[in-house]
């Protein structure tokens, strides 16, 4: 049993949530057929929670069994899926994916626990969508087949769309649709680019395939062996520049980078607490992860070529996000804009293209997941009590809710990168890495640290301190046991990462170095030779044959 699980650990982790979700759905469907009521809501909630917890335990197993020094993908599973299109079921993780997976599975139960009471309407579908969502996200993080990645990348939207749209705030529909359309816009253009890459690889190898790398123990040609012409070597749509631009657009929307960020505040403000937690914690990482896993490795020249632009956008994101966050009246919106700034840091680190920067970037992805997730939890708790998120409705909250204030304080500090809390390590490494290559950019970005302190503390002060003016705030009740546990669960890793980030860094670094190696290798490829002649070797069938 054990080794069976280990052999398919990734698939287990990925599909366990959805599996349980479907089973639950079937159960209620069947009972509906016989006119029964189906399982009661609390049971659904409990089962869903248990599922996510079990998934998290699985992922801990993953974390433990992961070999830090190994650069190749681990826990690989490879099986044919749609052979005609060369689509395989191909999963595997390196350090980066590992971090993402563990973070996702960690945030999921927290999100469910946090929304234990505030989701009253149609709990069943809520639980189902959450489980569905988890599978979608995990799948995207472990996919090594471009097609498969795209499938998960899009499937993920549906549950999120419903979570925002059904359990969201007053303008939820607008927010949900906006969220969906923004992402679709980017990802469909990415689809075209994917197809072009697919076509190029077919042209060169004569084999139809979406595998990013050759599965272990085989030297089958993969996308990583594909020469992608540079500008001037082929027609415009075959060139790295445009293909990367398409990928980058999709990812940049997801990140989100200014100016593609406007869906984020709306989505966050309207989404229910759990939705915001997952959205900020995991979904945004899809973008940066995509850049790391696909964007820069597939199109190294173009990504280097476009680095100034992306660095610039990242800087704009940092400063712009911070400034706009400063003037928000809605706490959730403020946090949303702060996410824009934080993800700007991540992008900065990734596009520094050195170990510190990228490692820091990945670590910061995790940190932001935890800190911002926690922030949304806290805002949610406040909203649950007062049904408002406007800063001016509060003030002096620390008086009635000291423990809450303390947690909030810690989280705020971690989010503005106070040393010995998680935020600092990532930010520092990113800035250091950036400074090594673009000192000026690093200087600007570092000013973002000051701004972060400014807007966060300003908000914190106006909410927590001062006299209690609104009478309804006077009788706010402090955190209950469940909420305390949730907060402790999420605060502990903050200190852990802040004090002893080594276990994470040790796992991330080899992956980053490997990515850089691949980039370098692929960078020289197209320059050395223009796009190779078509080979038409072992084609399953010739898609370009004319009658």
């Amino acid at each position: 049993m054990g080794e069976l699980i280990d052999a398919h650990l990734l698939s287990m982790i990925t599909f366990f949530p959805l599996g349980v979700g479907v089973l639950l759905l079937l159960s209620s469907g069947l009972s509906a057929l016989v006119g029964g009521e189906g399982l009661p809501d609390p049971l659904w909630r409990a089962l869903g929670f248990a599922t996510t917890v079990i998934t998290f335990l699985f992922s801990l197993r993953l974390f433990a069994a992961f070999t830090a020094t190994e650069t190749a993908y681990q826990f690989v599973e490879h099986a044919p899926w749609i052979s005609d299109y060369g689509v395989n079921y191909f999963v595997g993780i390196d350090g980066i994916s590992l971090m993402m997976v563990v973070m996702t599975t960690f945030l999921m139960p927290i999100a469910l626990a946090a929304s234990w009471t505030d989701i009253a309407k149609s709990v069943k579908s809520y639980v189902f969508f959450m489980l569905f969502l988890e599978t979608g996200m995990l799948g995207a993080f472990v996919s090594l087949n471009l097609f498969q990645f795209y499938v998960f990348w899009e499937v993920m939207l549906i549950p999120m769309y419903f979570i925002i749209g059904i359990w969201g705030g007053p303008r939820r529909v607008y927010a949900a649709v906006k969220f969906f359309l923004f992402t679709m816009f980017g990802s469909l253009l990415m689809l075209v680019a994917i197809l072009v890459v697919y076509y190029l690889s077919y042209q060169q190898t004569g084999v139809l395939g979406f595998d990013l790398v050759a599965p272990p123990g085989s030297d089958a040609p993969s996308l990583m062996d594909t020469l992608i012409p540079l500008t001037g070597q082929a027609v415009w749509w075959k060139t790295q520049f445009w293909l990367f631009a398409a990928f980058a657009l999709a990812f940049a929307i997801k990140v989100p980078m200014v100016p593609f960020h406007t869906w984020l505040p709306d989505a966050h403000v309207e989404a229910p607490t759990a939705g915001s937690v997952i959205l900020a914690g995991v979904l945004l990482k899809m973008g940066t992860y995509g850049f790391l896993r696909f964007g820069i490795t597939l199109f190294p020249n173009a990504s280097v070529e476009l680095t100034p632009l992306l660095i610039g956008l990242a800087l704009v994101g940092i400063v712009y996000g911070s400034l706009v966050a400063m003037v928000q009246g809605d706490i959730k919106k403020l946090v949303a804009y702060s996410s824009v700034a934080h993800l700007g840091f991540v992008m900065l680190g990734i596009f520094a293209f050195n170990v510190q920067g990228m490692t820091g970037g990945v670590l910061q992805m995790v940190n932001h997941g935890i800190s911002t997730g926690a922030l949304f939890l806290l805002v949610g708790m406040l909203y649950e009590r007062r049904h408002t998120r406007m800063i001016e409705d509060f003030g002096g909250v620390a008086k009635p809710m000291p423990v809450y204030a303390a947690c909030f304080g810690i989280v705020v500090m971690s989010s503005i990168g106070l040393p010995l809390l998680n935020g600092f390590v990532g930010e520092f490494l990113i800035l250091l890495g950036t400074f090594l290559v673009y000192p000026l950019a690093a200087v600007i970005a570092t000013s973002g640290v000051v701004l972060a302190a400014a807007y966060m503390l300003w908000m914190f002060r106006r909410v927590m301190f001062g006299p209690v003016e609104h009478p309804e705030n006077r009788k706010l009740i402090d955190l209950g046991l469940r909420e305390k546990l949730v907060m402790v669960t999420i605060i502990v890793p903050m200190f852990w990462i802040g004090l002893y980030p080594d276990p994470l860094l040790r796992r991330i670094e080899p992956a980053v170095i490997e990515i850089q190696r691949v980039m370098e290798a692929r960078r020289v490829m197209p320059e050395s030779q223009a796009a190779a002649e078509p080979v038409r070797a072992a084609a399953v069938w010739a898609p370009e044959a004319r009658p």
Binding site: P419, L420, T446, A453, G466, P501
Partner: protein, 681 residues
């Protein structure tokens, strides 16, 4: 080096931390408030213990031979990333060398006293049931951070302490958060400090980057000190149009970056604005953090990085001048203040300016010396002020005091000692340290060093003037307090007074550890070859001031001038506030504008607000948020596209779909004609 003494080091910061954590857990997870005696016992105990540990470590350190006085306690690698020549790694390691040893002793020692003092001071604070424990939690946390700052063996860890103390001061200033102003001062302090930290970070990046280029990537102090020569003439290329372009010497830039940090912490121009407001916190906090320890971190850092500054003359000059200007500027403000703590706050700023000036002039030993003495007498003054405030039932305005000298005699005496010490009267600690400072300035090669010296002297005069003004206004003349207050006036309880006595004692004698040869020649009779044991102790780690060729006579002369200035100030104060108490009002009236300016601290806060804060907020709100975000991106781009598509349908295409079969047929004919036409061509 022996293992035991090294493992000991970690306990110095960890003990207070453990106490803090205990308090934190108690506060967070246990509903019932902890009994007060448990609280204060733990806090004071932990700090006391770490003081003992520090003493033991000190003794271990002294046992070591002069050159190699260094204890390192390496816990684990904290942050490590990168490969090859860019491998970055920061250890979680504590190091104790003479400088840190001195400051550690001060922090733990003075810290302990102030902890004890706080027991009494916070006794009557009933604003919230857990406030007492919360206060001590913060206080312990602060001690921990400060010790990390002091004992850090690398820049990054130092930065940890650096930010940590900032956080604690934020928490403690806003301790009584229910008052909006306190909270405001707290965040102000934190944010201004962050601006400094910005510089600090950049400094770290800069040094590491160039050390990496030079092939010695490290941020550990010892390594950097060894390899500093590699960067001696490294430089950064900048656009030619930049000032001092096209090449900036790395070390100067780095030094300036770090100095920006120092400005933040040590409240130098232009970042001093937070310190006066920091007085919103409880008085023990003002004494510990904003007088004795934290604010001196900047000076400490400059001394720590003295190996950088010695190689960065231009930066050093900037440092020196900034210090001097801060000194006199703050002193001038202090003249007009009437809040007892505000006066002390500005005096702190001005004294810090002194130290920074000394450091800038290469007188690191002098800076450290003054830092030490200042820690004692300023703590004393604050705690004394606290005692007064306690006695006056939290009245801080000196205009409402007066004539207290026979109502609270003990407080009066210790306070007087403090005043004399800060005014630098011969025999008191302040005299010697100030003398050292002025001497180092006088003998340094910083451009305009004479001017600096002059400023130093004037500042000394002003200092003594406003300190005596404070003293006389408070303790002499007839009492201007309310009747009921006046009747209950009495010295505070023992637990408050005892620390004062200890501090008073040290304020007198602390100076003798650094007795200059000029005065201490006689000790040779007792077999001590150099009386300035303080300087000796620091010499191996701090670049000593080159032996100045000044004859003892000159030294006496300089000292005499300084003392003269101080005396003048004192006498003037006596004349104005004891002899002719009606004069000041008239003077103020005649110099209304100037007086007003001083009273409002040159409107610096207002200027910052109008020049930086408001514009920033307004632009972010009006232009960025409403304009770009809502207007441009969302309004024009996103919804605009949607509108276009919709309009294209509902105002254009729609009308082709008229519902009339024959119009459809018409379109078919058109289509067919076009198609056939294309095919036939």
């Amino acid at each position: 080096m022996t293992g035991s003494s090294e493992d000991l080091l970690r306990w110095i910061p960890l003990l207070p931390l453990m106490a803090a954590v205990y308090h934190g857990v108690m506060l967070g997870l246990v509903r019932r408030p902890t009994p007060r005696w448990v609280t204060w016992l733990l806090s004071c105990g932990s700090v006391g213990l770490s003081f003992l540990a520090a003493c033991y470590a000190m003794s271990e350190l002294v046992k070591l031979p002069e050159g190699s006085r260094l204890l390192i306690d390496n816990l684990y690698t904290w942050v490590g990333a990168g490969v090859g020549s860019q491998a970055f790694s920061a250890e979680m390691a504590f190091a104790m060398d003479p400088i840190s040893a001195v400051l550690t002793l001060i922090v733990t020692g003075v810290g302990f006293l102030i902890h004890v003092y706080s027991i009494g001071y916070m006794e009557d604070d009933q604003r919230e049931d857990k406030g007492f424990q919360r206060f001590f939690c913060y206080l312990n946390l602060f001690t921990f951070s400060m010790l990390v700052l002091v004992l850090a063996d690398n820049l990054l860890l130092m930065f940890v302490g650096w930010e940590g103390v900032g956080l604690c001061s934020y928490l403690l200033i806003g301790f009584w958060y229910a008052d909006r102003f306190n909270a405001y001062c707290g965040s102000k302090a934190f944010i201004v400090n962050r601006i400094g930290d910005f510089g600090f970070l950049l400094g770290i990046f800069l040094l590491f980057t160039h050390f990496a280029e030079a092939g010695a990537p490290s941020v550990a102090f010892t390594d950097m000190k060894q390899n500093i020569a590699l960067l001696a003439n490294a430089s950064i290329a900048v656009p030619a149009w930049m000032p001092f372009g096209p090449e900036w010497p790395v070390l100067d830039v780095a030094a300036l970056c770090f100095f920006l940090g120092a400005c933040g912490k040590s409240a130098q121009l232009p970042l001093y604005v937070w310190l006066p407001d920091a007085m919103a916190g409880p008085t023990p906090v003002s004494a510990l953090i904003h007088a004795a320890t934290m604010v001196t971190a900047g000076v400490y850092m400059i001394c720590r990085l003295s190996f950088v500054y010695t190689l960065a003359p231009d930066a050093s000059a900037v440092v020196a001048w900034t210090g001097a200007l801060t000194a006199i500027f703050a002193a001038s403000i202090a003249i007009a203040q009437t809040d007892i703590k505000k006066v002390l706050a500005y005096s702190t700023v001005s004294q810090l300016g002194y130290m920074v000036m000394a450091a800038g002039c290469g007188g690191y030993t002098a800076a450290m010396f003054h830092l030490g003495t200042h820690a004692f007498f300023k703590a004393l003054l604050f705690l004394g002020a606290g005692a007064v405030i306690l006695a006056m039932h939290h009245e801080q305005d000196i205009e409402k005091m007066g004539g207290l000298r026979n109502r609270v005699p003990r407080t009066h005496w210790v306070f007087l000692i403090g005043v004399l010490a800060i005014a630098g009267f011969p025999g008191f600690s302040g005299f010697f340290s100030k003398d050292e400072v002025l001497l180092s300035v006088f003998t340094s090669h910083v451009p305009g060093t004479r001017w600096l010296h002059g400023i130093g002297l004037v500042t000394a005069g002003i200092t003594s003037f406003y300190m005596f003004r404070l003293y006389f206004r408070t303790f002499w003349g007839e009492c201007r307090a309310h009747k009921e207050v006046r009747d209950h006036l009495q010295d505070p309880p023992r637990v408050v007074m005892n620390p004062l006595y200890v501090l008073a004692f040290f304020s007198i004698v602390a100076g003798f550890v650094g007795l200059p040869q000029a005065y201490g020649g006689w000790v040779q009779n007792f077999g001590v070859e150099d009386s300035n044991s303080f300087a000796n102790f620091l010499r191996p780690v701090l670049p000593a001031i080159e032996p100045h060729g000044l004859s003892h006579a000159t030294e006496y002369g300089l000292a005499a001038i300084a003392v003269g200035a101080a005396t003048l100030g004192g006498l003037l104060a006596w004349f104005l506030y004891v002899r002719r108490p009606e004069l000041p009002a008239r003077i103020a009236a005649s110099l209304a504008g100037f007086h007003h300016t001083l009273l409002n601290k040159y409107w610096v806060d207002e200027i910052y607000d109008a020049l930086i804060v408001r514009p920033l907020v307004r632009v972010s709100d009006r232009v960025l948020f409403r304009g770009v975000d809502a207007g441009l991106i969302d309004g024009a781009a996103v919804n605009g596209t949607a509108r276009i598509v919709r309009g294209f349908a509902s105002h254009g295409l729609k009308y082709a779909q008229s519902g009339l079969a024959q119009s459809y047929i018409f379109f078919m004919i058109v289509g067919a004609a076009a198609l056939v036409g294309y095919l036939v061509r």
